[in-house]
């Protein structure tokens, strides 16, 4: 099963490090990363494979959101299907 992680907020050091650390610890494999900075606004989209994730989806979501709150970023993870269904026929 695939999920999309999005990270939005003001750019600062260690964003990718902190997010990928949680993913590595949870056995979540990163399939694709796109990242850009628009006017100092950090935007990152990751497609990840959560098939072998060693914790529940909700727990992973809580860890990412908690890290987001700590770093003053909006970090979220959603099942990929919602994007597929809206943008692909």
């Amino acid at each position: 099963m695939k999920a999309v992680i999005t990270v939005l907020g003001n750019d600062k050091r260690g964003i990718i490090y902190n997010v990928t650390k949680i993913l590595a610890e949870s056995d979540v494999n990163i399939l694709d990363i796109s990242q850009t900075i628009l006017d100092g606004y950090f935007t990152m989209v990751m497609i990840v494979d959560i098939e072998k994730c060693n914790i529940k989806f909700e727990e992973l979501q809580n860890r990412l959101e908690a890290k987001g709150a700590e770093m003053e970023l909006n970090i979220r993870i959603q099942h990929k299907q919602i994007f597929d269904s809206m943008h692909n026929i």
């Binding site: 999005t6 796109s34 497609i47 959603q78 919602i82 943008h87 692909n88 026929i89």
Partner: protein, 452 residues
């Protein structure tokens, strides 16, 4: 292939444009709960609702979190209670409403629809008792919604029922006068009511439906409005195409949530209702879409044309996005639940007569409209007759949720809070129609009902 822009667009729709799933509604048949002993019937009703819908809210919340899409309401619709309770010897069905209310609260849904009767051609004993019980049932319960179908294209209009519903609406208003007549906000009078409507207050689970089913209603006026902001000055062809594309995207989310809820609950998927449903929140208004198309205020000349195009484009875009489409499917125009409509009504741009014209081209009808508290029941019945006639002749569902605001008049407002919103009291034509509504009988079905 999923694009970066697509992902960010979806997030922006959810975060900034209020894209959400308006409701997951579980339809539950109560046909097998009928019993000659009312007490036993109510026990069976309670047990069945709790058994079927026990996990509805929990599953809805899980989908909401995993997909990152808000699901505003989880609701239940049941078989019209007049049919189920009719088998009992009870002379009053208020206790049936109370058991629905208790079951709804215990499973955690915010509304339960189906305190209903279908009388477009005539009354059964159960229908008579149910309709008489409506005002008290709505006054003593919080979550129960009631509806009565008084006309159809096939059967014509039951004018005895129209007359009675005029009286019932006024009585329901009086019984809840201390709460801005909120009883009437939970009461719908229909023509051509549909059996699989997921939206309240008019939802009930039709007799042709399966034992249990999941229906989903989508929303997204803010998404359509934002998409149209990029079409300034463009001809209608472009506007219609833009709405279609947006409606497709909105409905796809509805289809996804519906099939996921159906799978997790082990209940068949029924339909997605291709709807644009507003809320009183800023940025979630149908009126603002119409204004974006080019009106100074909703209600101005051109409103009906813009709404007709919007309604049609929503259906065309949505129909390909879902495997089964049903319910009411169209744009809703409930005055008190739409921030732009509230403003238009407040400044006098939107009148009752203009709303009546608008209901000819969209779903559903004269919805959540506050009228002066001293409006007579005969006038209420006259308004019902007009709206039901529009539904009958045009082969469409029309509905009325009129709120006579007891103790208040034009220039004042009623306020219900939450999704039901608030509404300025609109003036009503002051000339009487007493002789017309007192005739009773049935208006015959129109000639084009004979399609066989």
């Amino acid at each position: 292939m999923l694009s970066y822009e697509g992902i960010l667009q979806t997030l922006s729709m959810i975060d900034n444009q209020k894209l959400d799933i308006r409701t997951i509604t579980m339809g539950i048949s109560l046909m097998d709960c009928a019993d000659s002993d009312g007490e036993k019937a109510r026990q069976k009703i309670y047990n069945k609702i709790v058994e079927k819908a026990g996990h509805l809210v929990e599953v809805g919340q899980a989908i909401e979190k995993e997909f990152g899409i808000p699901i505003i309401n989880k609701r239940i619709s049941v078989t019209p209670i007049s049919i189920v309770a009719g088998a009992s010897a009870d002379k009053d069905y208020v206790k049936f409403a109370e058991v629905l209310d208790r079951a709804a609260r215990d499973v955690g849904v915010n509304f339960i629809g189906g305190f209903s009767a279908l009388v477009h051609k005539g009354y059964t004993k159960g229908d008579e008792i149910l309709i008489r019980s409506i005002p008290e049932a709505l006054a003593v319960t919080e979550t129960v919604c009631s509806s009565v179908n008084v006309g159809s294209t096939k059967a014509g209009i039951n004018m005895d029922a129209v007359k009675q519903m005029g009286q019932i609406i006024v009585e329901a208003a009086n019984l809840t006068a201390d709460r801005d007549s909120i009883g009437c906000a939970k009461l719908v009078v229909f023509a051509n009511a549909v059996e699989d409507n997921p939206f309240m207050a008019g939802a009930f689970h039709g007799v042709g439906e399966p034992d249990c089913v999941i229906n989903v209603g989508v929303s997204g006026p803010g998404v359509v409005k934002t998409a149209l902001e990029a079409c300034k000055g463009a001809p209608f062809d472009v506007v219609a195409e833009t709405i279609k594309k947006t409606a497709f995207q909105i409905t796809r989310v509805g289809q996804l949530v519906a099939s996921e809820a159906s799978r997790r609950l082990g209940v068949p998927f029924g339909i997605v209702d291709l709807s644009l449903a507003p809320t009183p929140a800023v940025g979630d208004s149908i009126a603002r879409i119409l204004e974006e198309i080019g009106l100074e205020h909703c209600g101005a000349p051109g409103t009906t044309a813009a709404l007709a195009m919007l309604n049609d484009a929503v259906k065309k875009g949505g129909v390909m996005a879902s495997s089964h489409v049903g319910g009411l499917s169209g744009a809703f125009i409930p005055v008190s639940e739409d921030e732009g409509m509230i403003e238009a009504a407040r400044i006098g741009a939107l009148t009752l007569e203009k709303l009546e014209a608008m209901t000819c081209v969209c779903s559903v009808g004269l919805d959540m409209i506050a009228i002066p508290g001293d409006t007579t029941w005969q006038t209420v019945a006259g308004i019902i007759a007009d709206e039901v006639a529009i539904g009958m002749v045009n082969n469409k569902t029309t509905a009325l949720r009129l709120i006579p605001a007891i103790g208040k008049g034009v220039g004042e407002e009623v306020s219900f809070g939450g999704l039901l919103g608030s509404a300025p009291i609109m003036p009503v034509n002051k000339y009487n129609c007493d002789v017309l509504v007192n005739r009773g009988g049935r208006i015959p079905a129109p000639i084009h009902s004979l399609r066989n």
